[in-house]
């Protein structure tokens, strides 16, 4: 387990190095002055500019410049947004939790719908229900997320008026920012309208989370179906059957557990996919998350925000990958011997 941890750690360090290199070079590739792209201080006076040049060691070699840039990042200084002139780290801390919350809820929905459906399809392998589930999965996977989002708003918000279409909570509720995860903040707050706020926030998350969940859910269907088919063909299942265990016992005690382990390692991979989907969905549903912020930064040519936002997001996704690797390794001792990562 120690070598496994060390391997993952070194992988993490090198990937981060490459990522910072890319974001560092973006400052040179973007139009405008490099040091202003680094810091985001578009209105800097001459003396401030001189200080910035000094801080980022712009007169030294490119290697020293990179080291200075790295020091700034390690100190939590991601520069300031060109558009709002507030520190990017503050904006990220405020917005990233909303995206995590949305993605987690979507992931939960995708797993809760996708995995059981996949199992049902596998158990009824090559029967009508298997084919029906597979074609539904194919259909779901082919629908572009932005179109689905618009359809959902048109149908559920405008047509039926059941669910709200924008934001993560009605503006009437004042929830103090503590963790940034809306549901936790609501529970922590001492507002007299706590439970109204909670149900309002729940209603707000349903549509965007379901829209994001659709594509990963179809992938989970296919993954869990394949895993289950493989497990059901394994010799220990046949042995269990010959011992006289009934169908329910075989599925619930033996097959599901072994099939789930095969799926868990894909959850991390799906999470990256999910965050990408969430970015588009956040724009459609005006969700106050980092995805919408990043896309707005792109349209406003806010280079510092683009550069730092990409760094933070990719770093976050990479951490998720490593975490799922660890969970997988903890659950499945066989994987720890695997020497070359996933």
């Amino acid at each position: 387990m120690l070598t496994f941890t060390l391997r993952r750690l070194s992988l993490f360090l090198f990937t981060m190095l490459v990522l910072t290199l890319i974001s560092f070079s973006l400052s040179f590739l973007f139009p405008g002055d490099t040091v202003i792209n680094h810091s985001g201080q578009i209105n800097a006076t001459a003396t401030e500019l001189a200080q910035l040049n000094e801080a980022y060691q712009m007169d030294k070699s490119i290697f020293t410049q990179y080291r200075a840039y790295l020091t700034h990042i390690l100190n939590g200084d991601l520069g300031q947004s060109m558009a709002s002139q507030s520190p990017i780290s503050n904006e990220v801390i405020e917005l990233l939790p909303a995206t995590i919350e949305l993605s987690l809820v979507a992931l939960l929905i995708a797993m809760l719908i996708g995995i059981p459906l996949g199992f049902i399809a596998a158990i009824n392998h090559n029967k009508a229900s298997d084919n029906a589930i597979l074609s539904l999965a194919m259909l779901g996977y082919s629908i572009p997320v932005f179109w689905l989002g618009l359809l959902a708003i048109l149908f559920f918000s405008i047509g039926l008026g059941w669910l709200p279409s924008a934001g993560n909570i009605s503006l009437l509720f004042e929830i103090e920012f503590v963790t940034g995860i809306q549901f936790i903040d609501i529970l922590l707050s001492d507002s007299p309208y706590k439970w109204q706020a909670f149900s309002n926030a729940s209603a707000h998350i349903v549509l965007p989370a379901c829209v994001i969940a659709l594509a990963p859910a179809t992938i989970f269907i296919r993954l869990s179906r394949a895993a289950m088919i493989e497990v059901l063909a394994a010799s220990y299942i046949r042995a269990a059957r010959s011992k006289g265990l009934n169908f329910k016992q075989i599925i619930f005690r033996h097959a599901i557990r072994n099939a789930l382990i095969k799926i868990i390692r894909h959850v991390g991979l799906q999470f990256a996919n999910l965050v990408t989907l969430a970015m588009v969905t956040e724009v459609i549903f005006s969700w106050p998350g980092i995805g919408r912020w990043l896309i707005e930064s792109i349209s406003q040519r806010d280079y510092t925000a683009i550069q730092s936002g990409l760094l933070v997001l990719s770093c976050f996704i990479f951490i998720i990958h490593i975490l799922t690797d660890f969970i997988y390794a903890a659950l499945n001792p066989l994987a720890r011997g695997n020497s070359h990562g996933s």
Binding site: S157, L172, F173
Partner: protein, 561 residues
């Protein structure tokens, strides 16, 4: 193994419980208990400041003037007569040069998390508010840029000699000359009364700029929270000097995209929406209503008279003759506007029905161009404003229509547009050749059209972006202001309109209606004839099931008594 199975079961049962609670959550009517006492207004943009003295933008006035502040006097009723507000009465001397205001003695300022007033409104507050504008050495004059566009355009500083404090609740304005629009200017959204005591507090803390960011006023609402580009939250001012507002909370949901505003309106996420699109769809719905008000405004096509070829009157006339106004009104305003004959709307008392209209005559336009020496035509720019305003709902489409019209007389048009603040800045620097813009009156006095739009003073510093300056025209306006005889004023303004129609510094296109959509449960007037909107009189109809829940605690109270 058993543990895992248990987990799986418990997870699925938990989800079912969660889904059930979510679904019941949205069908429960009791969330209305908070929303019933609040209004969410989907507004079209972020205000630049919370002090209407500093800006003439409609968005800023909507978000600040009638919500946060009061003026000394206001316009009342259908005939727009002046009535008392913070001043309970006033007196004008016979020569019109001394105006004395007697203030109400029970007016309390907002109490907020950032300021607690210790005294009621008095003469010091009035003097503080106006001296900030007039006195260049005033501690707050330069705070937030030192520009007071409305007051600069009406030459307020040249008019007012001084403001005297007679006693705690009496103030006297001494004017250099008689000006019949002076009282009208004091009744606008811009002439608000700030708190002198708050100014003192900020000076002690050396945070002077907060006066316009964290406002303190006497209005029916006070500021609770503002997040740029996202929301403004107001609470009711419970010590308001009139009957307090009916709603407790007012939230501006800042939604610049017009389709987002429509979606939010249809999905009931906002109660009232500014500048709605899809009028037909809204009127079709039983739960929504569309209202409009013929505002005192004008949308126009202006020429930069300092740049060739538009320094030539003939070219301006030719271009104006070639534009089909009716087509613009049908397409851009969808018929919801009156065709403009001159800058003054027909609803104004000073409008002269004999004012000639230039009309649409491309053949004459072509011959005029030949006379002017442009027989081969030329290439020009049209600057189209990027935002939607009541006076011009879609400037880019309008520019395209004009482009089509002008092509027929051999003039090539390039359409240029910038982000709104950049657009205004570059326009004030005179980088344009022609532009599409408009004007909304701040008060019903006709001078508010003539002076800010086309006078020499506002071409130097103010809102005259045609840079047209005509001595005869200015003299007419001066004459009109120095008399109180309505018929005389009317004849001066008629002459001024005749000069505009001859010189054509700008082509007035339409006087539009301002539209607003709301849920049918929202009662009370919001749109005002001129100036910003007001939520003071707004309330929400209570739903039947909520009346019961509201009634119950009352009966319980009675029982305990």
């Amino acid at each position: 193994m058993a543990v895992l199975t248990m987990n799986f079961k418990s997870i699925s049962s938990l989800t079912i419980a969660a889904v059930v609670s979510i679904l019941t959550g949205c069908n429960e009517g009791n969330k209305l208990s908070l929303s019933e006492r609040s209004i969410i207004y989907c507004s079209e943009g972020s205000p630049e400041t919370f002090n209407p003295q500093l800006s003439t933008s409609g968005t800023t006035a909507d978000a600040s003037a009638k919500q946060l502040y009061n003026s000394l006097i206001v316009y009342k009723g259908k005939n727009n007569t002046l009535g008392p507000a913070l001043a309970s009465s006033w007196h004008v001397t016979r020569d019109g040069k001394k105006i004395t205001f007697y203030l109400r003695q029970d007016v309390k300022f907002h109490q907020t998390s950032y300021f607690t007033p210790t005294r009621v409104l008095n003469a010091d507050d009035v003097i503080f508010s106006f001296n900030r504008i007039l006195d260049k050495n005033h501690a707050f004059h330069q705070v937030s840029g030192g520009q007071y566009p409305f007051f600069q355009s009406v030459k307020f500083a040249e008019l007012v000699e001084k403001i005297e404090r007679i006693n705690d609740f009496t103030v006297r304005f001494i004017l250099k000359r008689n000006d019949s629009s002076f009282l009208a200017n004091l009744a606008t959204d811009y002439a608000v009364i700030l708190s002198e005591e708050y100014g003192q507090t900020l000076q002690n803390k050396s945070t002077l700029h907060e006066i316009d960011i964290l406002p303190i006023g006497t209005g029916p609402f006070k500021l609770k929270d503002y997040r740029v580009g996202s929301l403004i939250r107001f609470y009711r001012h419970d010590d308001y000097w009139q009957e307090k507002a009916k709603i407790e909370q007012l939230v501006y949901d800042i939604s610049p995209s017009k389709t987002t505003r429509l979606t939010k309106l249809l999905a009931k996420e906002c109660d009232v929406s500014s500048y709605p699109i899809a009028h037909k769809k809204i009127t079709e719905r039983a739960d929504l209503s569309l209202e409009s008000i013929t505002s005192l405004n004008v949308g126009y096509f202006g020429f930069n008279t300092r740049k060739a070829p538009f320094d030539n009157k003939l070219v301006r006339q030719a271009i104006s003759l070639a534009i089909n106004k009716q087509a613009i009104i049908d397409t851009v305003y969808q018929g919801q506007a009156a065709r403009a004959k001159s800058i003054l709307p027909e609803t104004s008392w000073a409008y002269d029905s004999d004012t000639p209209e230039l009309g649409y005559d491309p053949i004459r336009a072509k011959s005029l161009l030949e006379v002017a020496g442009y027989a081969q035509g030329f290439t020009m720019d049209i600057w189209a404003m990027p935002v939607q305003r009541a006076y011009n709902p879609n400037a880019v489409t309008m520019a395209k229509l004009i482009q089509g019209d002008l092509k027929k007389i051999g003039v090539e048009v390039k359409i240029i547009t910038y982000e709104w603040s950049t657009f205004l800045r570059r326009l004030s620097q005179g980088e344009h050749q022609t532009f599409l813009l408009g004007w909304t009156a701040d008060h019903p006095d006709p001078d508010n059209f003539f002076t800010p739009m086309l006078s020499c003073s506002s071409s130097e510093q103010g809102s005259n972006r045609t840079f047209w300056c005509n001595k005869e025209y200015d003299q007419l306006l001066k004459n009109a202001l120095s008399t109180t005889n309505m018929n005389k004023r009317k004849s001066y303004y008629a002459k001024a309109m005749a000069i505009i129609n001859e010189e054509i510094p700008l082509l007035a296109i339409a006087h539009s209606k301002r539209f607003q959509a709301r849920g049918v449960d929202v009662e009370g007037g919001i749109l005002e004839n001129f100036g910003g909107i007001s939520f003071y009189k707004v309330s929400k109809k209570t739903m039947n099931n909520d009346i019961e829940t509201l009634a119950q605690p009352q009966t319980a109270d009675k029982a305990s008594n």
